[in-house]
Amino acid sequence: MHTPLLEARGITKAFAGVVAVDGLDLTIGAGEILALVGENGAGKSTMIKMVSGQYAPDAGEIRFEGRPVHFRGPLEARAAGIAVIHQELQLVPQMTVAENIVLGRWPKGRSGVDFARARKIAADVLPTIGFTLPVDTPVERLSTGQQQLVEIGRALAFDSKLLILDEPTASLSNSEAERLMQLVVALKARGLGILYVSHRMEEIFRLADRITVVRDGRLVGTRPRTALDHDTVVAMMVGERRSLHIERKRTAGTTLLRTRGLTRNGVFRDISIEVRRGEVVGLAGLVGAGRTDVARCLFGAERPDAGTIEIEGEAVTLANPRQAIARGLALVPEDRKSQGLVLPESVADNLVMSARRRVSRGGVVSSAAVARMVSFYVKKLGIRAASTANPVETLSGGNQQKVVLARWLATEPRLMILDEPTRGVDVGAKAEIHRVIETLVAEGMGVLLISSELPELMAMSDRVYVMRAGAIEAELSGADINEQTIMRHAAGATP
């Protein structure tokens, strides 16, 4: 075998006492896809940040194209040919799509930056990954999924030898994810080495040539994909064989939520849906179909222009989320960093945020009551944090998501709206979250589930509404809840 493209040996990195990566080995060859898998907090992103020059390893050696490298910053890594699509989107919100694509590498013309060429670079690369919006749109106006595509476009716009993707499909819907995977395969064929991190097993098994499993920052093993199966990988990740099977015990009860003709001009129209006690209702659709906007509207975060909302038979006007919460609603928003969490605040503070009344008397917070509530939910959801007094931003993505879930469970809601609830969550944690949802639904809670991960949506939902371009296209139940049918309605393609 000739020299691998990237070779990392004994890489170690610790943060203030927490060893994030512990003596990890990794090799990637040109034209090879290596999948890096592990639980939330296993150290995958940290490893990537070292390979791409963002952090310097505490110990270990990195060789790129056979030569030892010590990147002093991301610029050097990129100059060497390493492109990263980070788990946290790294875009400048106020700038246009085109300018984000050429960020830091502005094409220069005779008088300063050549914006025409920047637009052309963007316009050349973006359609190849299915992004069709004008390149002059400021990225802050894009949905998360669209922003993700811009990131990918940026990595592709300039030649790279090693492409690192850290959970690239987490914010993408099925068809976008599909397109991305085809792209990754095509890039591999062009001879790029690819390091692929994902919690979605079906992607891993479809793409990877080899799979490296890490646990608690340590290498568990690297095997060819063909030598592994799903259960084995999960077992390697979590360190034990665990049943992911969840028993379903559901009986749909009275109607919790009903909307009639709900419309927000230019965003969605004529949404009439119903959610009953004890059932999970899925909301499917492509990126930009308007599911998030419907959810925000149901939760009082936005006002509808027309239509009615009924909660347990009573017509309501929700002026703000507080009023929705008072009526027993909860919303787990799609982007936990910007909409879910107060990052610098502690895990405990984030957890009790919406249930503060329950842990206070006369407006004064009781620390004992907070501690009780926090430890209850930390245990219930298996939240992994060194201390609940630590800022929530120090937790891994999956654990952050669990904190958001815990916050809403603490309000003891009747109806939960979950917008991409397991985005970026590892398989074990995802199963735990599903189990929690299942228990609550069994107890009579209703759930409106938005998920771009079709397997999840199909597995969890009793009924599914499919949205396309701001309108409900179909209501499916029973055997109709299958990938072909959903996609047919979502994409509007007549077969």
């Binding site: 939760f299 975060a301 928003p333 969490l341 990052l343 610098p344 605040e345 945020m353 206070s360 004064v364």
Partner: protein, 327 residues
């Protein structure tokens, strides 16, 4: 995000810890300052001088308490100097010129503070105007209204209860200092322990997430401005009690010093981070420097230079102490 320093990627530690640690840094600077001054000036470490220090910190401290709340929510209140002047001139004026009973007149003074705060908060949350612009405008309006009302003259004499407050002491502690201590304890308690206080932290840390979590962020922000306005009125009245007259130029240019005290004390202009204790330490440092200049008789031309260097040094020491603490 943190105290005297901008967030650097390396300092990913939590603001709580960061806040505490940086406060210790400031405490260190203050202690060193005290030790040096003790050697340099024989009167520095005397009861009499410390009493002076306390009294002279009062107004700055009262103003900084309210400002801390506002800055915590990513806001800023430049109007405090104008509020001080207008509320005290009106309160004293109503009782002196218009025969309004003193307690009622004082309430009106506080009401003026609340009103200006409400206008600020309303304009920020409901009209969506940048805090800096809103409060710069109300600063100018309040100051202008004071000039129109007083026509540039001092309002005097203050009612007996006001001058009694200004001169009175309890076991040797001036009333104004007792008032400050009570206000500081109250403000600390509210910020640290109540639902409202935690909402201030959350709103400053991430307004969108807080609103989605059911926190009435607009109301929280509004209340911080009202609180700041009322405390500015209190500061104005304390000043009037001290000077036994209200003047149209009360609090001219004080806003930057107040904001500096908050920021030196660890409150971030980008919201979500800060504490009353930190702010008070910031106030103490600033007051100490002025006191030292007065005691040592630093030549007039040199005092700005000294002040600037001490602030700079405090910031640098803080940074190095934090680097040290991290490793």
């Amino acid at each position: 995000m943190s105290t005297l320093s901008t967030p650097s990627p390396a300092s990913a530690r939590g603001p709580r810890i960061r806040g505490l640690v940086s406060r210790l840094g400031l405490l260190l600077v203050i202690l060193i300052f005290i030790v040096v001054m003790t050697f340099v000036s024989p009167v520095f470490l005397t009861l009499a001088n410390f009493k002076n220090l306390f009294i002279q910190s009062t107004i700055l401290a009262v103003l900084a308490l309210g400002q801390t709340y506002v800055i915590m929510t990513r806001g800023i209140d430049l109007s405090i100097g104008g509020t001080m002047a207008l509320s005290s001139a009106l309160a004293i004026g109503l009782s002196v010129y218009s025969g309004v009973p003193a307690p009622l007149a004082l309430l009106v003074g506080l009401g003026v503070g609340a009103l200006i705060g409400t206008i600020n908060g309303f304009a920020v949350t409901q009209l969506g105007i940048t805090p800096l612009i809103v409060t710069l405008a109300t600063l100018s309006i309040a100051r202008g209204a004071t000039f129109v009302y007083t026509n540039g003259a001092n309002v005097t004499p203050v009612p007996a209860m006001v001058s009694a407050f200004g001169r009175g002491e309890l076991f040797g502690v001036p009333y104004s200092v007792i008032l400050l201590v009570l206000l500081a304890i109250g403000c600390h308690f509210i910020l640290a322990r109540t639902v409202f206080g935690r909402s201030v932290y959350a709103t400053g840390g991430n307004e969108t997430a807080s609103r989605l979590a059911g926190i009435p962020t607009d109301r929280v922000i509004l209340v911080t401005y009202v609180l700041c306005g009322v405390l500015a009125a209190v500061a104005g009245l304390v000043l009037a009690a001290r000077l036994e007259s209200a003047g149209p130029r009360a609090g001219v240019g004080i806003e930057l010093t107040v904001i500096a005290a908050c920021v030196i004390g660890g409150t971030s202009l980008f919201g979500g981070t800060g504490s009353i204790l930190g702010t008070l330490l910031g106030v103490v440092l600033i007051s100490l420097v002025s006191n030292a200049i007065n005691l040592l008789g630093v030549p007039p031309a040199w005092d700005d230079l000294v002040k600037g260097f001490v602030i700079f040094l405090a910031a640098v020491v803080d940074v190095y102490r934090r680097k040290f603490a991290r490793s």
